[in-house]
């Protein structure tokens, strides 16, 4: 069967009833979709199928033959982060990060569809995505910021090379 994954077309060999999650992780070695529950309950495996967020653990390969699949690797690179990725970094919306791949994918679909910064609407869009670390507040803030198109300064939060403390205005006293 054929898939276009992050703009690369591939012929896949897995049997037709293999979950898309296993095709991506085990056959194509694309490891960002996470196997949190493999039963549709946690959202960590979410990918875009023809632009729509789907639980890849519940999606049989044969139902997506020919589809365009996008994982978080396809949304932006460390050098060229998407707006949603920048907002997740800026707002510290990823703690252990295990839910983040699915969250970023679902949030991207929401923002791309013109979603607003309304908290209830964001909750609705992310329903079924579990995060055990952050308490969700930071995630809601990040998605709202991305939806509004906030100007974000991620240099102070994203740097791995420069491990010095960065102070913000007003904190120096």
């Amino acid at each position: 069967m054929e898939l276009t994954v992050n703009s690369v077309s591939c012929t896949v060999q897995s049997p037709p009833l293999t979950s898309l999650l296993n095709v991506l992780r085990e056959e194509l070695d694309i490891t960002s979709p996470k196997a949190g529950c493999e039963s549709g309950g946690c959202g960590a495996c979410t990918v875009l199928v023809d632009g729509q967020p789907r639980r890849s653990c519940l999606t049989a390969l044969c139902t997506v033959d020919g589809a365009a699949v996008v994982t978080v690797e396809g949304l932006g690179t460390p050098e060229d982060l998407s707006r949603v990725q920048q907002a997740f970094i800026h707002h510290y919306a990823a703690q252990c990060g295990f839910c983040s791949d699915g969250m970023v994918v679902a949030a991207t679909a929401y923002v791309n569809a013109g979603g607003s910064d309304d908290t209830d609407a964001i909750r609705e869009a992310l329903a079924g995505h579990f995060c055990r670390c952050t308490g969700y507040v930071k995630i809601l803030e990040a998605v709202a910021a991305a939806a509004r198109g906030d100007e974000l300064d991620i240099d102070s939060t994203a740097s791995s090379a420069n491990n010095t403390y960065v102070t913000i205005a007003g904190a120096e006293s």
């Binding site: 694309i30 490891t31 996470k34 949190g36 309950g41 970094i89 991620i154 904190a171």
Partner: protein, 457 residues
């Protein structure tokens, strides 16, 4: 201020949002096998026979590990600290909880490994199981734990109970105007990290093992693995630090040891990732606590003394429970100072999943009990709960149940902030209160004896 309020750089932020962070399940190695476990379907059973030959004969199966393969079968998570071992890495003659691993299969795929587990021939003779800690002491209770019986019995001085004795408890109860008792029971709770237990173990050409681990306690897990495998620590390299959530549930060494053994036996890299069902069914969770509190209180609102009985449900094996109950005992007065104490805490075994750490091990359920009890005492006294709490709040140089003077207790400030955040009126006196040591003229007799004489040690 350099740090508070500053935007600290997150070294892993970019990795987390671009799919670049490598969790244990993301480790890819050529020739890697996949493991699955055969687990006890019974809460308590004698294992009458175990025949793995059909599983071993299946195409794609590379190894079936049973108790006979483990160099040191029985070890305890606190054995390094002198607590005798009680838990077999794989069940041998007895299964003590539902979900206890009996065998591990390493195969070409997870599906083959699972099918092979189903092909293992095990005979069980079901035994009566114990689930309620309150029945553990009965003469006719099923015996749960091989090493200790139904409760841990090897505290210092051969005591079978963690005790705290402080001050003169009988005098406190004689002097009480009011005695308030309550029983508090908290439930067990699974930590539910989004990443289930997972390990990748790799045999290196020089004979060493590399273990990609999701542990929260790297060097501790290194010790557990090396003990069961009887390897010097120089032979094992643990790679960790990227944990997909743990919350205490990854302090136990859940998957590393068996995966390492499978890698040794097959001479191939092996991955063992638990399913969500296994995580819920068989990984260590926060234990239930049974707590009985009896306070001796004076009419003007001082807690003169506390008697407390705690029964902690350890599940089938000790793991860290002895530590948990000890920590619990040190904290059993919570944010308040009570000079006369009589505390007994038992680690009781039941046929449940062994329990472990979760966010405030030994303390979280206890805090619920202490605070609900404080509220009840205040009501019985007809006293404002804030006043009651602030009056008994820990102050500088008060001593903890284990006789450590508090240098920096925050009870007063926390209660004052709580009152202002919830719009509760405090009197001027209470608003002006600080954590500073109580002045001698403020001290009630029972605290004067404790603090005035240098701490009542």
């Amino acid at each position: 201020m350099k740090v508070v309020g500053a935007r600290l750089p997150r070294y892993d932020g970019v990795g987390h949002v671009t799919g670049r962070t490598t969790y244990v399940d993301d480790v890819r190695l050529p020739g890697m096998l996949h493991a699955a476990a055969l687990r006890s379907p019974h809460h308590h059973a004698r294992i009458t026979h175990l025949d793995t030959s059909a599983a071993e004969a299946m195409a794609g199966v590379h190894a079936v590990i049973t108790h006979a393969d483990v160099p040191l079968l029985v070890y305890g998570h606190l054995s390094g600290g002198g607590i005798p071992g009680d838990e077999p890495l794989l069940a041998k003659d007895h299964a003590r909880y539902r979900g206890q691993p009996i065998a591990l299969v390493a195969a070409d795929t997870v599906d083959i490994a699972r099918a092979a587990c189903a092909a293992i021939d095990v005979g069980y003779e079901e035994l009566p199981a114990l689930f309620d800690v309150r029945l553990a002491f009965d003469d006719d209770a099923p015996v749960v734990n091989d090493a200790f019986g139904n409760w841990y019995d090897q505290y210092e001085g051969n005591l079978d109970v963690r005790q705290i004795r402080k001050g003169d408890i009988e005098a406190a109860f004689d002097a009480a105007d009011l005695i308030v008792s309550g029983v508090y029971r908290t439930q067990s709770q699974e930590q539910v990290p989004l990443e289930t237990q997972v390990c990748v173990a790799v045999p290196e050409p020089d004979g060493r093992l590399t273990i990609h681990t999701c542990t929260q306690a790297m060097y501790f897990s290194l010790g557990v693995v090396c003990s069961h495998l009887q390897l010097p620590m120089s032979q094992v390299k643990m790679v960790g630090g990227t944990v997909g959530g743990g919350f205490g549930g990854k302090v136990d060494t859940a998957s590393d040891t068996l995966t390492a053994l499978a890698a040794q036996k097959t001479e191939r890299p092996v991955k063992w990732r638990w399913t969500r069902e296994e995580e819920m069914l068989a990984s260590g969770n926060r234990g239930p606590w049974h707590m009985e509190i009896i306070d001796a209180v004076s009419r003007d609102g001082w807690i003169l003394g506390r008697k407390m009985l705690t029964i902690h449900d350890a599940g089938a094996y000790g793991r860290f429970s002895v530590y948990g109950v000890t920590k619990h005992s040190f904290h059993h007065t919570g944010a308040y100072t009570i000079p006369n104490l009589h505390f007994d805490g038992y680690v009781v075994f039941t046929n449940r999943i062994p329990t472990t750490a979760m966010r405030g091990y030994g303390i979280t359920g206890l805090s619920t009990a202490i605070e609900v009890h404080a509220e009840r005492v205040a009501r019985e006294l007809g006293m404002d709960p804030y006043e009651f709490r602030l009056k008994n709040a820990n102050r500088v140089n008060d001593t903890s149940p284990n006789r450590i003077p508090y240098e920096d207790p925050s009870t007063v400030e926390v209660l004052q902030s709580l009152a202002s955040a919830t719009g509760s009126e405090l009197s001027d006196d209470l608003r002006a209160m600080t954590r500073d040591q109580r002045s001698a003229d403020m001290l009630p007799d029972h605290l004067a004896a404790q603090i005035g004489s240098g701490g009542g040690h």
